[in-house]
């Protein structure tokens, strides 16, 4: 925008220090030998060992992973359908209500979403467990997916779809062969968003889980309520590492695919 000043450099440095130092401190202390989390007693990987032997954490991690995979996949299908209905569906009865229901969960406080779903599950006498968490997570993440996908659907040139239809595609073939490849990055981004939202959710899962299923955030929350624990530090470090590797890889892949796409387009134009 304009020349980069000392003020800018200072605010960026302090800002990023603020964003990253707490996580860095957490990572450092996960390698602390002492059980007293605030006193440094030398380097050790002891807490990682304890973590791996802790059955309760492993079980919770497995439940969380299954819930996240199933709910984000369901949410991606439903969210993409919803986005298609909103952008391409034309006019239909109750369209305003429909778009309202897509946007409302995005701003709804989690405590209310959780409470209302729990009351529903009790009213219809559905046993609480993995199924109810999946239903709850699918419902709020499909709205995020639908927002991400519809922004992509709005921005792309509709005449390409029409050309496919003119050339003899059925609407479903046009969607599969033309629309889907174009919106694919948004669909994938939506899935990733739904997946991380599900992995991360504490409040809605606490309401809908019931005694039979415990997810990792519920487990973490109940053990840190009483204070800092070195095992949780180790667990956090692992989770931070997974996210960092995932996000950086995804961004490198998408950068490379954008570059390739630009090259293809340029080659096509040059050929024509």
């Amino acid at each position: 925008m304009r020349r980069f000043s000392w003020f800018n450099l200072t605010s960026l440095t302090l800002g990023f220090a603020f964003l990253y130092l707490p996580m860095l401190i957490l990572i450092v202390y996960s390698f602390n030998a002492s059980k007293l989390v605030t006193v440094w007693a030398g380097f050790s990987t002891r807490w990682y060992g304890e973590l791996i032997r802790n059955e309760a954490f492993l079980d919770a991690a497995w439940v969380t992973l299954r819930v996240a995979v199933v709910s984000s996949t369901l949410a991606t299908v439903l969210g993409t359908m919803a986005a298609h209905a909103l952008v391409r569906g034309g006019r239909f009865l109750g369209r305003t209500l429909f778009s309202g229901m897509i946007y409302a969960p995005l701003v709804m406080p989690e405590v209310i979403t959780g409470l209302s779903l729990l009351l529903l599950f009790i009213a219809i006498d559905l046993d609480r467990g993995i199924t109810t968490i999946v239903l709850a997570h699918t419902t709020f993440s499909m709205c995020y997916v639908s927002v991400v996908v519809s922004s992509r659907l709005v921005s792309f040139d509709r005449s390409i779809e029409e050309a496919a239809l003119d050339l003899g595609c059925t609407p479903f073939e046009a969607f599969r062969l033309v629309t889907l490849p174009i919106i694919a990055p948004a669909v994938i981004a939506g899935w990733l968003l739904a997946f991380t939202l599900s992995l991360d959710d504490l409040v809605i899962a606490s309401f809908t889980a019931g005694p039979s299923a415990t997810t990792l955030p519920i487990k973490i929350f109940s053990s840190v309520r009483l204070g800092v624990s070195p095992e949780i530090n180790a667990l956090s470090t692992i989770l931070i590492a997974i996210v960092a590797v995932g996000v950086i890889t995804a961004s490198l892949i998408s950068k490379r695919s954008i570059a390739r796409q630009m090259q293809d387009t340029r080659a096509a134009i040059a050929g024509a």
Binding site: L26, I112, L135, F172, T196, V228
Partner: protein, 300 residues
């Protein structure tokens, strides 16, 4: 024929899903908030008994009243919780703006080839677990924590400061976790800003500070407003931050609702607390939507 059927499926399936798992649950909350608490399972009356036909429906409607809402106004706990949530969310939003604006401004001024990395640096924490980011401050702010020991080692304080379990810790938690929501929209508007306008202001005799306040800030307003709402709205119903960092003295609605439900098991009151929280949230949500619409129209 199949084309039409397919269209109805694409619309109908997500529509029914949201009706069943978003709208209906909310109507249930509304209904329970008008019911009376009872020592039964489920712990409220009346329950709708459709098997008794019209008589059952009439009895059910007759049993509903606003008693729980009246109760919310008579007990200080609730209105104090609403007021303190509003205050905490508003002040924390202001602090987030103070911290976030210089970061967004610095990013927009940074050399072009740095920007993707800086942007990634702001987005990365957003993908990291919210719970873990809040938790990371527990070890820093505790009485024996990293911050107190660093300050004592530097000789700035003699006795550890009491930060954890106070509202200050809640402010820090909100600023920290919601910072990306403030930085990203402000950066987006600053990035699109036409530099020649600033240059023109300076050519016409503005100092750097004047051109910042008279040109840059007004032009960044849509981003600032969007960022403030994106922090304020979720902060108002926050549960995790006050319960991990705020201690028992920090009162926020999200926590009150949780305790009413899980500890006191008073479902009708918990539902009434939820309905009132939603009514309070409607105002900022509508203002936010208007701001977004104006920004979109300005773009066209």
């Amino acid at each position: 024929m199949t084309g039409k059927l397919r269209r109805w499926l694409v619309i109908g399936v997500p529509y029914l899903w949201l009706l069943a798992l978003f709208l209906v649950p909310f109507l249930i909350v509304l209904k329970i908030s008008l019911s009376d608490p009872a020592l039964s399972i489920p712990p409220y009356t009346p329950t709708l008994d459709l098997s008794r036909g019209w008589e059952g429906v009439r009895e059910f409607v007759a049993g509903l009243d606003f008693e729980n809402y009246v109760f919310l106004t008579t007990d200080d706990l609730y209105w104090k919780a609403y007021l303190s949530s509003l205050w905490i969310a508003a002040f924390a939003t202001f602090l987030t703006l103070l911290v976030g604006f210089p970061i967004a401004y610095g990013m927009a001024c940074a050399p072009v080839h740095w920007r993707p990395t800086l942007l990634m640096g702001v987005i990365l924490p957003f993908w990291t677990s919210f719970l873990i980011r809040v938790y990371s401050w527990m070890g820093i702010l505790a009485q024996e924590g990293v911050l107190n020991r660093a300050l004592m080692w530097l000789g700035l304080i003699d006795e550890p400061l009491m930060i954890l379990n106070t509202p200050t810790a809640v402010y820090i938690g909100i600023v920290y976790t919601y910072l990306p929501f403030m930085v990203l929209p402000i950066y987006a508007t600053l990035d699109k800003l036409d530099v020649s306008l600033i240059e023109a202001a300076e050519d016409l005799g503005c100092s750097r500070t004047q051109s910042f306040w008279l040109v840059t800030v007004p032009l960044a307003r849509p981003g600032i407003i969007a960022g403030c709402f994106l922090v304020f709205i979720p902060a108002l119903g926050e549960f995790v931050i006050p319960s991990l960092l705020g201690g028992s003295r920090t009162l926020m609605v999200g926590k009150v609702l949780w305790e009413e439900f899980f500890s006191n098991r008073d479902w009708p009151v918990a539902s009434a607390v939820a309905v009132v929280l939603l009514l309070i949230l409607i105002v900022p949500i509508i203002l936010f939507q208007r701001n977004e619409q104006k920004a979109r129209e300005a773009e066209q």
